[in-house]
């Protein structure tokens, strides 16, 4: 799935050619991140400090994990809006299980239960979307509202504390989160690139009819993407809950648009058939660094939100431009 070198550019003037090459490059977003840091570092004390980098990493890793699952769903041409509600629900269910105030089951059991619940909720989404042939947008919107309400209801809107030390350790050590994230990212990228399932996933996103006629089990492939998405959300929930030492029914509520925005900024197409884990990483990195830098510049949260919205819109324009360039040169 590499970006193709446009043919027409060879006839164009060098500058145009350079510009087309730049827009089409898959490292464009990564380059922009570096540029952003280089531009803002002189005015932003503490942007490039160890403490801040750790801070960025702590925020970025769970976001990236959720975005990995969302990337798979978006490659099929779908969308998963329910991920943040899955984070919240798995957080409170897990916390209720393992908290000293709750049933105090062993941490491992709680962890397995959280991940299984996440995957199960993804399966429900995927099942409804593929079996009833409903649009992913409306199904996951409904499950977002349902699960979010459900999480608040079972906790009576209270946070759950007194989580066991063995669970909290997962949040204290950045290396654990880092190791987990890297392993997951590499595994998923390898699956996408080197397995039958990966090829099928792209084919389903590019042309579901052609894929079906070619013998691709379109429904099963789509279903699996939602299961992975739910699983990834649950994994992110483990990391977030452990770091905040809380089971919270509103956990992750504000990061939904960051997740989808970052995936689009990275270059995964909302229309399906296109996407890479590395791209999503670049997108998450860019949005996180932007958010962090603007925070350090003491901009208000509203200004930051406006800036992020602008960037996401620009990314969508960029995606459309790439698409058009690709067709023109066809």
């Amino acid at each position: 799935m590499t970006i193709r070198k446009p043919v027409a550019a060879q006839r164009a003037r060098p500058f145009t050619q350079w510009l087309v090459g730049l827009i089409s490059s898959e490292y464009l977003v990564f380059g922009l991140t570096l540029l952003l840091v280089a531009l803002l570092a002189p005015f932003t004390p503490g942007l490039v400090s160890i403490a801040n980098l750790l801070n960025i990493a702590g925020y970025l890793l769970p976001l990236f994990i959720v975005a990995i699952g969302v990337t798979l769903v978006m490659i099929t041409g779908g969308i998963d809006l329910s991920v943040t509600s899955v984070i919240a629900l798995t957080s409170v269910v897990g916390a209720k299980l393992i908290s000293a105030d709750g049933s105090a089951t062993p941490t491992v059991v709680g962890l397995v239960a959280m991940l299984a619940l996440g995957a199960g909720l993804g399966a429900v989404n995927g099942g409804i979307i593929t079996c009833l042939r409903l649009p992913a947008f409306i199904v996951t919107l409904a499950s977002m509202m349902f699960l979010s309400g459900f999480a608040v209801w079972i906790t009576q809107s209270k946070n759950i504390y007194n989580l066991p030390a063995s669970f909290l350790a997962l949040g204290k050590q950045l290396s654990i989160a880092l190791g987990l994230t890297i392993t997951l990212a590499l595994c998923v990228q390898v699956v996408l690139q080197r397995t039958v399932y990966g090829r099928w996933l792209y084919a389903v996103g590019q042309n579901p009819t052609a894929a079906y006629i070619s013998g691709v089990p379109v429904r099963a492939v789509t279903f699996a993407a939602y299961v992975v998405s739910g699983f990834c959300a649950a994994l992110a929930s483990v990391m977030l809950s452990a770091r905040l030492e809380t089971g919270s029914p509103v956990l992750g509520r504000e990061i939904l648009l960051d997740i989808i925005g970052a995936t689009v900024v990275g270059g995964t197409s909302l229309f399906g058939g296109k996407g890479k884990i590395a791209w999503t990483f670049f997108g998450v990195l860019f949005l996180t660094v932007l958010d962090n830098a603007l925070n350090l510049l003491n901009l208000s949260q509203f200004a930051i939100t406006i800036a992020k919205g602008t960037v996401i819109l620009l990314a969508a324009v960029l995606d459309a431009t790439r698409h058009r360039l690709g067709r023109q040169n066809a």
């Binding site: 090829r199 052609a210 006629i213 070619s214 013998g215």
Partner: protein
């Protein structure tokens, strides 16, 4: 002849460097009726797309009503008073007849930007009377038959000041009675002084209706003049050209009947009264002929499990297949090349290699993790590229969208050949591709049959079926009405079966 209404002057058009129109020049006189004939791919559609503003000519010019005419879009053509009645009608089934007619120019209440409902009904009713359609303008289009819809299209064309109407294969999906009604309407419109271009494969109709004829072949005008100066035979000879005999690879002399590989027994699709039964043998190329709407593609879709079947059995190598789904059938070596290669055959934004291997990925992942072997994939891709004769200039990673229709079709075919199918069903395998690529496709079909597979070919081009098949079945109204062995191939007999009537000569 007075000043011409429309003049084509040395119009040329190229796609991907292939010239599909090579300097086409002819005139349509004011109030004249010109028949445009030619095989599929002769350039008729391209020419009409240029006239309608959907395509721009690479060279040459058009003049309409004595003035230079260079439409940039379909709106330009409509403003000039040029209307198209297409094979596939462009109506909105969810709207009423009146709404469809006035969609682009609703009558307003004077200066107020509101639609004048009474005026709409009054004018619609008058237009419907003009075209002889005795229905309420409030009827929804989805409740109309194809013939009635066509009349609505014509009424729509008459609602604006139309000076030229183009009929593109108007009779293919009409009943005999509807056809006669249409011809009567055409005669009435002519008496009003409207000019018309009539495109059809039914030569008898063309002779019956038109004053002048223009024959196209491979993007060139090969015959042009009064209809009286042609005969059916001379026109066919012009359209087909001398190269006809070289269009098809030699079919080996008839082989003794072999074992049945694919048997269809009394299969019926939902909502259709007729059964279909036939048998496809090993090494046989079996053709399925018939008019558009005869149910050929629909039958193929049922056989491949894309549409539900009401009843009937299907046997592969003598074994009954219960569950019909593309996945199961592919697993058993049945493949289906659909008629819409862009929407159903290819992932246009994926690469050549990805498209070629899509149906056979599992073969390259013979391990528990379903890990793909890059080497095995690469070998398969380069072998099949060579086999289908795909241009070596294009890389394996090139996106399929950028290829010509012929190369795209070779990729879809290559995808299925990699499966080494026992049975291959092809629906219009050469639609919209150039002559050279056609020959390659025919060659591949022959080779596959020679290797022992059964091939079922659906085609609207009779010459194509007669050129490559061992046997031809003729379909009409979702039933098989005739069967011809290679020795009995006869254009007239096939048409006779397809129309269900004696063809007027």
């Amino acid at each position: 002849m007075s000043t011409p209404l429309l003049e084509f002057d040395a119009v040329e058009k190229s796609f991907f460097g292939v010239k599909v129109l090579k300097g086409v020049s002819f005139n349509i006189p004011e109030g004249g009726m010109v028949g445009l004939v030619g095989e599929n791919g002769a350039g008729k559609s391209t020419l009409m797309n240029i006239l309608g503003g959907n395509l721009q000519p690479s060279a040459g010019s058009l003049r309409f009503g004595g003035e230079s005419y260079a439409p940039q879009n379909s709106g330009d053509a409509a403003r000039q008073g040029i209307a198209f009645i297409h094979q596939e009608l462009n109506l909105f089934p969810n709207l009423s007849i009146a709404e469809n007619i006035f969609l682009t120019c609703f009558p307003r209440m004077g200066a107020i930007p509101l639609i004048d409902r009474t005026e709409v009904s009054r004018r619609a009713a008058k237009l419907l009377r003009d075209v002889g359609l005795g229905l309420s303008p409030e009827r929804l289009v989805e409740t109309l038959s194809t013939g009635q819809r066509q009349l609505v299209e014509i009424a729509k064309a008459l609602s604006i000041e139309t000076r030229l109407i183009i009929f593109d294969e108007p009779t293919t999906s009409l009943s005999e009675r509807e056809t006669l009604q249409l011809f009567a309407l055409i005669a009435r419109l002519r008496s009003r002084g409207l000019a018309m271009i009539y495109i059809s494969h039914t030569l008898a109709d063309v002779f019956r209706l038109c004053d002048d004829l223009v024959a196209l072949r491979d993007g060139e005008v090969v015959g042009c003049g009064p209809a009286k100066s042609f005969t059916s035979a001379s026109l066919v000879a012009l359209m087909v050209g001398r190269t006809m005999t070289q269009l098809f690879p030699d079919r080996r002399s008839s082989t003794p009947p072999r074992e049945a590989v694919f048997e269809v027994h009394k299969v019926r699709r939902i909502d259709v009264p007729n059964y279909v039964s036939f048998c496809l043998h090993q090494g046989e190329v079996l053709g399925l002929s018939g008019l558009m709407g005869a149910g050929r593609s629909e039958l193929a879709r049922v056989l491949f499990g894309l549409d539900p079947r009401e009843s009937g059995t299907i046997l592969l190598d003598g074994e009954v297949i219960d569950s019909l789904s593309p996945r199961d059938l592919i697993g058993r070596g049945v493949a289906f090349l659909t008629e819409n290669r862009r929407s159903e055959g290819l992932c246009l934004d994926a690469s050549i290699a990805e498209n070629l291997t899509l149906a056979t990925l599992a073969e390259h992942a013979q391990n528990p993790l379903r890990w793909l072997s890059a080497k095995s994939l690469q070998t398969a891709v380069s072998n099949i590229r060579q086999a289908v004769g795909l241009d070596s200039k294009t890389g394996d990673g090139q996106c399929v969208r950028s290829l010509s229709g012929g190369n795209q079709q070779k990729i879809v075919l290559g995808k299925w050949l990699l499966l080494k199918p026992r049975v291959l069903i092809l629906d219009e395998p050469t639609r919209g591709i150039d002559v050279g690529a056609k020959y390659e496709i025919y060659r591949l079909i022959q080779e596959l049959a020679d290797s022992g597979a059964g091939v079922l070919v659906i085609s609207s081009e009779m010459e194509e079926l007669m050129g490559i098949c061992d046997r031809i079945l003729v379909m009409r109204s979702a039933a098989i009405v005739d069967e011809l062995g290679r020795a009995e191939f006869d254009r007239e007999r096939i048409l006779h079966g397809a129309f269900g009537t004696e063809i007027a000569r």
